[in-house]
């Protein structure tokens, strides 16, 4: 077990249309930390997360996960990586027509044979595990409801439970509270913190609100135009840094 679970080295991502989303990014992620990435829309935050779990293919650079480079692996190995680096999304990305339970069980797809999964034959161990994590995020009683009948905050908690059934080592959260109201945002962030503390899962989250960053992050990285402009403790982000990250004239929005 190395101390650094992830090490990003000189990561570059250029989209086919020529947009350079990430320009030579390097940083390390310690096992068990709650790392928050901030920056304006379009600064490359989402691209960065999607490169780490290989939903996007990096153009160049290395991503060292548990000691091996995963930036260039292909096929079955990509799926192995994704199993260990789970992700939740701004728009939850659940399957609306399926039940909450079924959605959570989908976290097990990576561990199942194709035929068993097409007939929906999830093992009783899988079912127990899904129930356990639904309980952890506090919506066990909604298990039989259709996912699209839940509120946004509840859907995000289902998404967290789905991610947990992958038994991941890292949880990526791409603006997990950006489409939620302030009160619900705190609930969801609290569950992420719980996952981080109780299960020891390393969390890397993209966030917009600095007040949330100060409350939950153990470390912060700020991106601007695809480059890292700040790396340090949340308390170090003063007004001067704020202006440097978000541009002159920007004003902080408080969320309580």
């Amino acid at each position: 077990m190395t101390e650094n679970i992830l090490e990003i080295k000189n990561l570059v991502k250029t989209y086919p249309n020529g947009t350079r989303a990430l320009k030579d990014i390097s940083f390390k992620v310690k096992r068990g930390e709650f790392l928050v990435i901030i920056g304006l829309s379009g600064s490359g935050k989402s691209t960065l997360l999607r490169c780490i779990n290989r939903l996007h293919d990096p153009t160049s650079g290395e991503i060292i996960f548990n000691g091996s480079n995963i930036a260039t692996v292909e096929g079955k190995l990509v799926r192995q990586v994704r199993k260990k680096i789970a992700m939740i999304f701004q728009h939850f990305n659940l399957i609306p027509r399926h039940t909450v339970m079924s959605n959570v069980l989908m976290g097990r797809l990576g561990n199942m044979g194709t035929w068993a999964s097409i007939w929906g034959r999830f093992s009783s161990d899988d079912q127990k595990m899904a129930m356990k994590y639904l309980e952890l995020v506090g919506i066990k009683e909604k298990a039989k409801m259709r996912a699209d009948n839940l509120s946004g905050g509840q859907q995000q908690r289902v998404a967290i439970a789905r991610a947990l059934t992958q038994t991941p080592e890292v949880l990526l959260a791409d603006e997990p509270v950006a489409s939620l109201d302030p009160a619900t945002s705190h609930t969801v962030m609290d569950y992420l913190k719980k996952v981080n503390n109780e299960l020891g899962i390393t969390v890397i989250a993209n966030l917009h609100f600095l007040s949330l960053v100060r409350e939950y992050a153990t470390r912060v990285i700020a991106l601007k135009g695809g480059e890292i402009v700040f790396e340090g403790n949340p308390s170090e982000i003063d007004d001067a840094w704020f202006e440097r990250i978000y541009g002159a004239g920007a004003r902080e929005v408080q969320i309580h």
């Binding site: 779990n53 939903l55 799926r79 192995q80 990586v81 994704r82 199993k83 789970a86 992700m87 999304f89 728009h91 939850f92 990305n93 659940l94 399957i95 609306p96 027509r97 399926h98 989908m106 976290g107 097990r108 797809l109 990576g110 561990n111 199942m112 194709t114 999964s117 097409i118 998404a159 789905r162 991610a163 992958q166």
Partner: protein, 343 residues
């Protein structure tokens, strides 16, 4: 030359060639032999095309807009022109106006449009005799007509049912958002082309082909409808697949699922209702088409209809039409209700 200029010149060239060719026939020669001289007419068309395209290029260069320029000009260029010009003073208005005028003129000419024929006494009497027959259907024929329409309905059912699984599998292979690697894209192009060819050959032609292949009868008609349904359904299905939202796809892929698992869990739930809706509609279309296909030997009610029509037995034809009308109306209404309920 820029892409839009090429498109614009081809458009204006064809417009001009068409207008000039019609004028040529009106002014110089409208004898049947002149129309049949394909060689000379092609040469004329090419000549007129080149003249028009050249003229259009010159006109646009001078700052006046042709119709081709109006259609294909890029949005950013369109946004630059602010002052309004009276339509009557623009080239494109007259170009399109002349096109419409010529097209109606030629259309009336070639269809021999004639009010005297429509209101001719003898012809009118014939029509009255026919309607008289139709409106007094021979009910003795009803049992046979019902048997035949049942055959037609089952023909339509089987052709749709057999087409569903084939179209379902092929539709994923012909959806752009799934076939995104270069090798897969080749399969996509191949399938799309095959579907377009299969659909551009009318079910009627397929029925003729199969009636020679397997003999006249319902089997030939069923096969013809099936081929047509596979192509149509696969195209409609794949277009639905191309509109699914990416969120669930990302969500499932991020769990480490395979491509097949992703399709089954992220895409299928999104498309299943529109698929069913389109399939019911296809069955509905197939019942109507099965009747037409019967006319060329596809069996069922259509074949029966053409037999009695050939002998001018209008009372019997009346019975058959009544049965067809009832079933088509019923299926149409039922499928509309079903599709509404599935929304």
């Amino acid at each position: 030359m820029k892409g839009h200029t090429v498109k614009q010149l081809i458009f204006d060239g064809i417009m001009g060639a068409y207008l000039l060719l019609v004028s040529w026939f009106m002014l110089f020669s409208s004898s049947p032999e002149a129309f049949l001289n394909l060689n000379q007419n092609t040469q004329l068309f090419v000549l007129f095309f080149l003249v028009s395209a050249g003229l259009a290029y010159f006109i646009n260069k001078k700052g006046y807009k042709t119709a081709g320029e109006l259609i294909f000009e890029p949005a950013h260029k369109k946004a630059q022109q602010l002052e309004a010009v009276s339509k009557l003073k623009t080239i494109w208005f007259w170009e399109l106006g002349l096109f419409l005028f010529f097209t109606f003129f030629v259309a009336f000419e070639v269809t021999h449009f004639s009010f005297t024929e429509l209101l001719d006494k003898d012809g009118f009497d014939g029509a009255i005799r026919l309607f008289n027959g139709l409106s007094h259907p021979n009910m003795d024929l009803l049992p046979k007509a019902v048997v035949n329409i049942v055959i037609t309905i089952f023909m339509a059912f089987l052709s749709t049912a057999l087409a569903i699984p084939i179209a379902f599998v092929l539709s994923f292979m012909s959806a752009k958002n799934i076939m995104n690697s270069p090798a897969a894209f080749a399969v996509y192009m191949l399938l799309r082309t095959a579907f377009n060819i299969m659909r551009s050959i009318e079910a009627l032609i397929w029925a003729i082909i199969f009636s020679v292949w397997v003999g006249i009868g319902p089997f030939a008609g069923m096969l013809a409808l099936m081929i047509h349904s596979v192509a149509s359904l696969a195209k409609q299905y794949s277009e639905i697949i191309e509109t699914v939202s990416d969120g669930p796809i990302e969500g499932i892929l991020s769990t480490g699922a395979s491509r097949l698992q992703m399709i089954w869990y992220a895409i299928v739930p999104q498309v299943v209702l529109p698929f069913i809706s389109f399939t019911i509609y296809r069955w509905d279309i197939n019942i109507r088409m099965a009747t037409i296909i019967g006319l060329v030997g596809g069996g069922g009610i259509g074949t029966m209809l053409i037999q009695y029509q050939g002998q001018a037995m209008w009372n019997e034809v009346g019975t058959i039409i009544l049965v067809i009308a009832f079933v088509v109306w019923f299926m149409d209404t039922a499928s509309a209700y079903l599709r509404e309920a599935l929304k």
